[in-house]
């Protein structure tokens, strides 16, 4: 088994995943008419979701490599929810939140402290070895785990993306603090996994090699259980940081683009018009 063969043959076209993603895409196309620029992040998010769940990452992560599983989870937690949230038009959210039940849920779960805790705790709880190993051994629990990640992370990213500014409960600095604490929490978990003795998650130490991949993984890719666990920990520790930085930059860009209400009025009150030849960079 070579790397190329592994990458091209180990795809798991799970019908539920395909149906789910296809259905979501179809729903979006008809609900978000006319399709604008927002469809790009949404479809990108769906594409990443699809790839995370059907690409070789899934099989490798399920049975052989902690690091592959970690990468899959990071995509589900850090990439898919923000993209999906960015892609759904605010008008759709408004319509959804007109229902009283949804509104109450948003008021409770959308509170920054609550959302942060839900996102962080779901990550930490599912990384407890007992639960993590159970998910590897039982497909039902595994699906539950992935659903938990997706839902909890969507809740986590909701106060950050906040497509409905009226419901925002944090200012820009608060959102930056929220993101930084989230990044640090991810990093601490990653640090613990990197430094823990190998065998933290026992199914990865002696995986059942039904596909004949172990020689490729152990020798070809040089991923011993120890290296694999460290790599997985590192992906969470360092690999998650660029996402949070991009998010911070996005928050700052959005913040600085806000109009300044006191100037709008002041400029209106000015008696003389501004010289059109006047450059900004004078002194």
């Amino acid at each position: 088994m070579t790397t190329w063969r592994a990458l091209t043959t180990l795809w798991s076209w799970d019908p539920t995943v395909l149906l789910g993603c296809g259905g979501a895409a179809a729903w979006y196309v008809q609900a978000a008419r006319p399709l604008g620029r927002r469809s790009v992040p949404f479809m990108a998010g769906l594409l990443v979701l699809l790839l995370a769940l059907v690409s070789p990452l899934d099989i490798l992560g399920d049975r052989y490599l902690f690091s592959a599983h970690m990468l899959q989870h990071l995509l589900l937690i850090l990439v898919v929810p923000p993209l999906l949230l960015l892609g759904i038009p605010p008008a759709l959210f408004e319509r959804l939140l007109r229902r009283p039940a949804a509104d109450r849920a948003e008021r409770l779960l959308g509170h920054p402290a609550v959302a942060w805790l839900i996102g962080t705790l779901s990550l930490w709880v599912w990384h407890a070895p007992a639960l993590y190993d159970a998910a590897l051994q039982n497909e039902g629990i595994h699906v539950l785990q992935h659903l938990c990640f997706l839902v909890a992370s969507t809740i986590f990213w909701w106060p950050v993306i906040m497509p409905l500014p009226d419901r925002s409960r944090m200012n820009a600095l608060g959102t930056l603090a929220y993101l930084m604490l989230g990044s640090l929490s991810n990093s601490v978990l990653g640090i613990i996994e990197t430094f823990a003795p190998p065998g933290l998650y026992s199914p990865y130490v002696y995986p059942l090699d039904t596909l004949g991949l172990l020689p490729l993984i152990r020798q070809g890719w040089n991923l011993s259980p120890s290296n694999d666990q460290q790599l997985g920990g590192l992906l969470m520790w360092t690999g998650s940081v660029p996402v949070f930085i991009l998010a911070c930059i996005g928050i700052i860009v959005r913040w600085f683009a806000e109009p300044e209400p006191d100037l709008v009025e002041a400029r209106r009150e000015m008696e003389e018009p501004v010289d059109p030849q006047w450059q900004t960079r004078t002194g």
Binding site: A172, L173, L176, M180, S183, L184, S187, T194, N227, Q230, L231, L234, W237, T238, V241, P242, F244, I245, C248, I249, I252, V253, W255, F256, A257, E258, E260, D262, L263, A266, R267, M270, E271, E272, V274, W278, T280, R281, T282, G283
Partner: protein, 563 residues
């Protein structure tokens, strides 16, 4: 157009409980009992400067010892104490308090506040700094100065019988005291910036010095407690014979390194962020235009804030952390170079096709750009761990750190001092003496530290008290020592300039530089009650707007537009 008729903004909120006053304090008592942020700021600056002289003498002693191979001017034990005290002094007793002192003096003024949020707590922070520093220096006569290096790796520092004297105890306790003071200052400044801004001074209109100080406070709050924990562990080991780093009992010295550098890396950013803020104030004023890309400078600093908490391992590449960790820290260390580069670009581009006024302050700021970039480049070289494995603990590191901390922070402080001296004292600094100061400092600094890059590359290790007569080692060391001597003369010129200008300098007036930010609306020096009324704040350059109403920033939609 008559904008003078527009009414000023209302009085800013006062402290709600009047502070107790010592009746008619005069002279020294006035200073000792002061809770005025301006006086405390000055006390920080003067005290740090005195410690700078101590640290400078320590440096000169080292350079003298190293000027010849096999020189025996200092014994090895003396040398250990001197380099430890030099590093500890310069970092904890000079750069940090000097920058904090400037922040304490100027942040309230720049946001239009009449005092800092917690004036008595401010005074406490200063006195903790002073007494911590005095305790540290008392060690020279109280049993011996610390001698395990400023970052004091365990088990050398933590085993009570590995060091020649009890100096490391002093190190731990006195730095813990100053550290608590620093944390207090960070809390104080943060609350000041968040609650005492003048009306119209939104967070997006903060002067960049204030913005940088605000982010710096986050770093201080995140990093200094880790340092205090490290001190706890070292002192436990030393005084209670505990086992944190005691190898026979299973202690691991690497835990010390992780713990210390979790503080140590944010610490270097703590030492540079306010300096970046000063440069961001000085360059636009003397280039006579607003800074280019305010948003990018502000945003890049946020990225640096997050990244700086995650790169500490690049100080430990040679400690044997394993390839995986080396890769992780190498990648994140390379990432952190990007936002810094963005800032350097913005500062440089601010001067593009500008009419630059080459005041002494501006000269130091321009030298900062050059020297800090050099230091930054060598820093990124260290992010590549194979290079690091070769250069770690050599004079290449010493060259790098001095280029960023002296060529960077110290030069930025010089720029800031020349810029703000008129405001603090009411008198201009002498420009002729200033140019001499600058020329000697620039030449002295570069002659002192550029050769050290080469010394590091040809194999000279740091913290050695002497060296054999290998090819070029003597020559390069001698050149470096001569540079240090020139630098010392520059400092003497500077001191002379300070004294002369304070006594005989030209009276400055409120705004001698036609500068842009709110502190220039106060008298020079500011009255005890800095602002009777705060000018209207409608842009990032409120005083420019006030003095040049026809070209005010807020009137031009382009000038303060977001990204």
């Amino acid at each position: 157009m008559n904008t003078a008729a527009r009414p000023s903004t209302p009085l800013i909120p006062e402290l709600d409980t009047p502070l107790p006053r010592v009746t008619d304090p005069t002279g020294l008592l006035k200073w000792i009992g002061s809770v005025d942020h301006k006086q405390i700021g000055i006390m920080y600056m003067v005290t740090s400067f005195v410690f700078f002289l101590f640290g400078g003498v320590e440096a000169l002693l080292m350079r003298l010892q190293l000027s010849q191979p096999r020189f025996s001017f200092l014994t090895p034990q003396d040398y250990d104490q001197i380099f430890t005290m030099h590093g500890t002094t310069m970092i904890f007793l000079v750069i940090m308090p000097m920058l904090i002192g400037f922040a304490i003096y100027f942040v309230p003024l720049m946001i239009g506040a009449n005092d800092i949020a917690f004036p008595r707590f401010n005074a406490l922070s200063y006195w903790l700094f002073l007494f911590g520093g005095l305790l540290l220096y008392y060690s020279f006569i109280g049993g011996g100065a610390p001698d395990a290096g400023w970052f004091a790796y365990a088990p050398l520092s933590s085993e009570f019988n590995f060091t020649a004297n009890a100096g490391m105890n002093y190190w731990g306790v006195s730095l813990a005291a100053t550290g608590i003071g620093t944390i207090g200052s960070a809390v104080n400044l943060m609350v000041t910036i968040w609650t005492l801004r003048a009306p119209g001074m939104t967070l997006r209109r903060l002067p960049l010095f204030v913005w940088m100080v605000m982010l710096n406070n986050v770093l201080i709050l995140a990093a200094l407690p880790a340092l205090n924990s490290t001190f706890v562990m070292v002192l436990f080991d030393r005084l209670l014979h505990a086992n944190f780093f005691h190898v026979p009992s299973g202690g691991q010295p690497l835990l010390y390194q992780h713990s210390f550098w979790s503080f140590g890396h944010p610490e270097v950013y703590i030492m540079i962020l306010p300096a970046w803020g000063m440069i961001s104030e000085v360059i636009p004023v003397f280039a006579r235009r607003p800074i280019f890309g305010y948003n990018f400078v502000a945003g890049a600093t946020v990225a640096i804030l997050l990244l700086s908490l995650l790169v500490w391992g690049h100080h430990m590449f040679t400690a044997g952390m394993g390839q995986t960790l080396d890769i992780a820290f190498g990648i994140s260390s390379m990432m952190i170079a990007v936002p810094t580069g963005i800032k350097v670009f913005n500062w440089t581009y601010t001067t593009w096709k500008a009419s630059i006024h080459f005041t002494t302050s501006m000269l130091f700021a321009l030298a900062f750009l050059l020297q800090f970039t050099i230091g930054g480049v060598t820093g990124v070289m260290f992010a590549s761990f194979p290079v690091d494995w070769q250069m770690e603990d050599s004079y290449f590191v010493i060259a790098h750190l001095h280029y960023v901390l002296m060529g960077g922070s110290a030069f930025a402080l010089w720029a800031g001092i020349y810029y703000w001296f008129p405001k603090i004292t009411g008198r201009m600094m002498d420009e002729r003496l200033g140019r001499w100061n600058f020329a000697l400092a620039f030449i002295g600094f570069n002659v002192a530290f550029m050769p050290q890059h080469f010394l590091g590359m040809i194999g000279m290790a740091r913290r050695i008290y002497t060296y054999p007569d290998l090819p070029y080692w003597h020559l390069l060391n001698l050149i470096s020592s001569i540079g240090a001597a020139v630098l010392a003369i520059a400092v003497l010129v500077f001191i002379w300039n300070l004294i002369y200008s304070y006594l005989h300098g030209r009276v400055a007036g409120d705004n001698p530089w036609d500068a842009f930010t709110l502190e220039w609306a106060t008298a020079s020096p500011p009255a005890v009650h800095s602002f009777e009324q705060v000018p209207p704040v409608r842009s990032r350059r409120p005083i420019w707007d006030l003095n040049h109403p026809d070209r005010a920033d807020w009137k031009n939609p382009e000038a303060v537009r977001g990204i």
